[in-house]
Symmetry: C2
Subunit: 190 residues, 2 copies
């Protein structure tokens, strides 16, 4: 866990200044979690008291229709924060599933600890403020892409944003993320 | 402007505690702007040093294709914060247009003032952190809607979220927001 916490400290310091004393306090609120490929981080119908920082590995976050059809909201890998944020923020029940596409390691923080620490440590409030703003902007671009761009354009944008992702994720999930068949995907994912 | 600032103070206090002294400091950084229906708050190709809190009125934020086709990203009304956040956050050039669907009033804050005040006044950092998180969640739901829901379901979700909006926005813009023709919209927007 020590190594994971060092990585997380570095992740924070890329965005805000945190003193050693503050870091000691913040880091004491994280726990460590390890999952194998195919295991679930969050399953539909669960309470979601935690969010997760990905130390290592790759997950997919998706909505499952009654018919069994999977709608992939997001792939997340090292340095991403993941959760069912709607359920997490509103103390609700998860409507999403998050499972591991690779063996994965996480640092885990609870909602109550986050809220408490963001009041006690202003740098942390600013860290999450800036991260949320960037996440918001990234989702706005995703919305615009879904409204106006072809699947091929959206695929190319995904490759540009996360060049390693396409090597790590099975093609069928990339197709599902883009909302196209595997055949359509194979036409432009050479 | 005094009345507008009082409304803004109330808007902040709904989410965080701010002392009178902090408020005096924060409020001194806002300016007031009034626009008529059809005027632009932001035009494509502009620098975007500001974000705007809507005191009164209604705007639409949209991307314009070379062909002239409009893709509406968002409608925003009283209490919403609007900008081209991608350009604003990255000191870039606007790719969006924001124009007024009604006469409108705004309180205006610059990026530099926001960043400065968020470090100086932790409550403000927490305010924008919580607002950004809620905005992120709302956009996640929009992404899921665009991936899996019919235009009719997305229309009903919009009405549920903002019951007054549909009375205030011309039908052609609602259709554009949903990505359907006016004929299709008229089938389920009785």
């Amino acid at each position: 866990m020590e190594e994971a916490l060092l990585k997380l400290k570095h992740h924070f310091l890329e965005t805000v200044d945190i003193t050693d004393e503050e870091w000691k306090y913040i880091s004491s609120h994280f726990t460590f979690k390890r999952l194998k490929k195919h295991q679930f981080l969050i399953q539909e119908g669960m309470n979601v008291p935690h969010e997760f920082w990905i130390v290592k590995g790759l997950v997919k976050s998706y909505f499952l229709e009654e018919s069994g059809k999977e709608y992939i909201l997001q792939f997340a890998l090292e340095n991403y924060w993941v959760s069912d944020f709607h359920a997490y923020q509103n103390h609700g029940i998860s409507t999403l599933n998050i499972d591991c596409l690779e063996d994965a390691e996480f640092l885990v923080m609870s909602f109550d600890d986050r809220e408490k620490m963001c009041v006690e440590v202003p740098a942390l409030a600013n860290f999450f403020r800036i991260k949320s703003t960037k996440g918001y902007i990234s989702l706005q671009q995703r919305v615009m892409g879904l409204m106006k761009d072809s699947a091929e354009k959206r695929f190319n944008d995904l490759v540009e944003k996360l060049p390693n992702l396409v090597q790590r994720v099975p093609k069928k999930y990339i197709a599902s993320y883009l909302g196209v068949s595997r055949e359509t995907l194979s036409r432009f994912s050479k």
